[in-house]
Amino acid sequence: MSCSAEKPQDSRIWNDADGRHLDVRGLECPNPMVEILGLIDRGEAGDVLIVHLDQEPLFLYSELDDRGWAHELMAEGCGAADCTEGYRLRLVRMSA
């Protein structure tokens, strides 16, 4: 299962050297957006959050903007070497 290469088993949230990770793949719309914003609003996202998604969250961007978070789409795939499925989105807190 290459798409869970970076992810600890049975966990949607984990920390790595590049920041906190959140995996929302497999969730029904709009739950991915709710999970991401919930983490941010509860102050549990840290300063850098890398989100693993099934698809690009087009409706999320204006919400991030409103909360003072910048976003950047990373390379295609979930992070495993041979994987081209899914998206990774790097979110950075821009304001306190």
């Binding site: 029904e28 719309c29 709009p30 739950n31 957006m33 709710v34 914003l37 919930g38 609003d41 099934d54 698809q55 690009e56 087009l58 409706f59 961007y61 204006s62 919400e63 991030l64 903007d65 409103d66 910048a70 976003h71 950047e72 789409l73 990373m74 390379a75 295609e76 998206y87 790097r90 979110l91 950075v92 821009m94």
Partner: protein, 432 residues
């Protein structure tokens, strides 16, 4: 950021060019204005409307086909490919839908207004051809919507209702010229139930399962009650359609009761989404949405009373107002004023930009305030005019509704006008 920008461009390939969905929204805004104009001129017939080849029929079809269906097509072809992650194979079919459907509606409703039966059939054929092509595109996308089972179930039910509506609509058009139907009025009732609660109603309920939680920032509704709600809604529409065609009052009563169960489950799910959502201040659009939610069960109750001749002489007209105006139009306008800026922001996310423009950059709010006041006043005035059989009051209500429709058209034009400007706005701070 170069790689990200390139990737963003690839992801955005599921978006149609903005001109495609927005041509449907622009046409719907114009049909909305035209609907109120026709209603003003046909006020005498509107307040006691029960069907038949009269100008009021043109107003009803401007609303159902021109406003509701045209908007639904524009929204569905834009949102479904994004949700299902499968782009349309080509752009020409949906452009062809527009060029068959919209002129078809113009011909159909103009000939209904003028009572030109031969042109009604031509308009019905043109708009039907467009709808059938849209049905093919919708079916192809629903086939891939495995991740949205409830939305897909409602979509398939809406598609089935659409095909039945088309069949009955064509039969009614031909019947105006030939009189081959044994009971024209019964087929009109089934056509209205399938069109209002079946096609448009099922689409509205289905898309609500994604849109309402998305606006409120709450989790998707639970599968089990959502499935129960869908089954009750589908059963209610089927029972109501058969009851109408067969002229069976007990079936219509059963359909209403099952429909009320479906509405109860749906509203419970939606209100729970609002209650648990992260966004509490939902603004003007949700005043309209809540008003629509009140109208939906009311339409069922008035429909039941009318089917048993207990709603007064103008009961069928009041039922039509609550179903088409109170529930579907009010809901659609409430949702549309939120998704138009959303869709615009999706298109405005140019590769050189880190984030799309804020939604407030993409639509003026003053026209929406004017529209909401006029829309509510017009519907309440029309309901009063129907109850008291007062055509002058209906004309005044229609004039207020027209002002509201013009304000909404102004809002739509403003979103479209700002779209290219928004895509050239200054970039936000770097994310990395």
């Amino acid at each position: 950021m170069t790689a990200a920008a390139g990737f963003l461009g690839g992801a955005k390939s599921r978006l149609l060019p903005a001109s495609i969905p927005f041509r449907f929204f622009a046409a719907a805004a114009l049909f909305h204005v035209a609907m109120w104009v026709v209603l003003i001129f046909a006020a005498e017939q509107v307040i006691g409307f029960r069907g038949g080849m009269v100008p009021a029929l043109a107003a009803v079809h401007l609303l159902v086909l021109g406003v509701l269906t045209t908007t639904a097509i524009g929204a569905a072809v834009q949102l479904l490919p994004v949700a299902t992650r499968h782009a349309l194979a080509a752009h020409w079919p949906i452009k062809l839908v527009f060029w068959m459907f919209v002129p078809g509606i113009v011909l159909l409703t103009a000939s209904m207004y003028l009572g030109r039966i031969e042109l009604v059939i031509a308009g019905a054929v043109a708009s039907t051809a467009g709808l059938l092509l849209f049905a093919g595109l919708l079916g192809d996308n629903l086939r891939r919507a495995g991740g949205l089972p409830i939305v897909a179930a409602y979509g398939w039910a809406a598609l089935a209702a659409l095909l039945a509506v088309i069949l009955l609509g064509l039969a009614l058009s031909v019947d105006f010229a030939t009189g081959f139907l044994r009971d024209h009025a019964a087929v009109v009732r089934a056509h209205a139930i399938l069109g209002g609660y079946g096609f448009m109603g099922m689409l509205a309920l289905g898309f609500s399962h994604v849109l309402i939680p998305m606006f409120a920032l709450s989790s998707a509704p639970e599968k089990r009650p959502a499935t129960a709600g869908f089954l009750a809604a589908a059963a209610g529409v089927a029972l109501g359609s058969f009851g109408a065609v067969l002229g069976h009052p007990h079936l219509l009563t059963a359909a209403t009761l099952v429909g009320l169960v479906a509405v109860g489950i749906h509203l419970w799910l939606m209100l729970r989404a609002l209650r648990t959502g992260m966004r509490k201040r939902l603004g003007l659009s949700f005043i309209l949405v809540r008003a629509a939610w009140v109208s939906l069960p009311l339409s069922l109750l008035i429909g039941l009373a009318a089917s048993h001749d207990r709603a007064g002489p103008n009961g069928p007209a009041l039922f039509g107002l609550l179903l088409l105006g109170g529930w579907l139009l009010t809901f659609l306008l409430g949702v549309l004023q939120r998704i138009l800026p959303f869709l615009a922001s999706m298109h405005a996310t140019a590769p050189e930009r880190r984030a799309p423009p804020r939604l407030s950059e993409l639509g003026a709010t003053a026209p929406l305030n004017v529209h909401a006041i006029c829309h509510g006043t017009a519907l309440a005035g029309l309901a009063g005019a129907i109850l008291f059989d007062a055509s002058a009051a209906a004309r005044v209500a229609g004039t207020i509704g027209l002002l509201g429709a013009m304000a909404f058209a102004l809002f739509t034009a403003d979103v479209i006008r700002r779209l290219p400007l928004a895509s050239h706005a200054s970039p936000l701070p770097s994310g990395g």
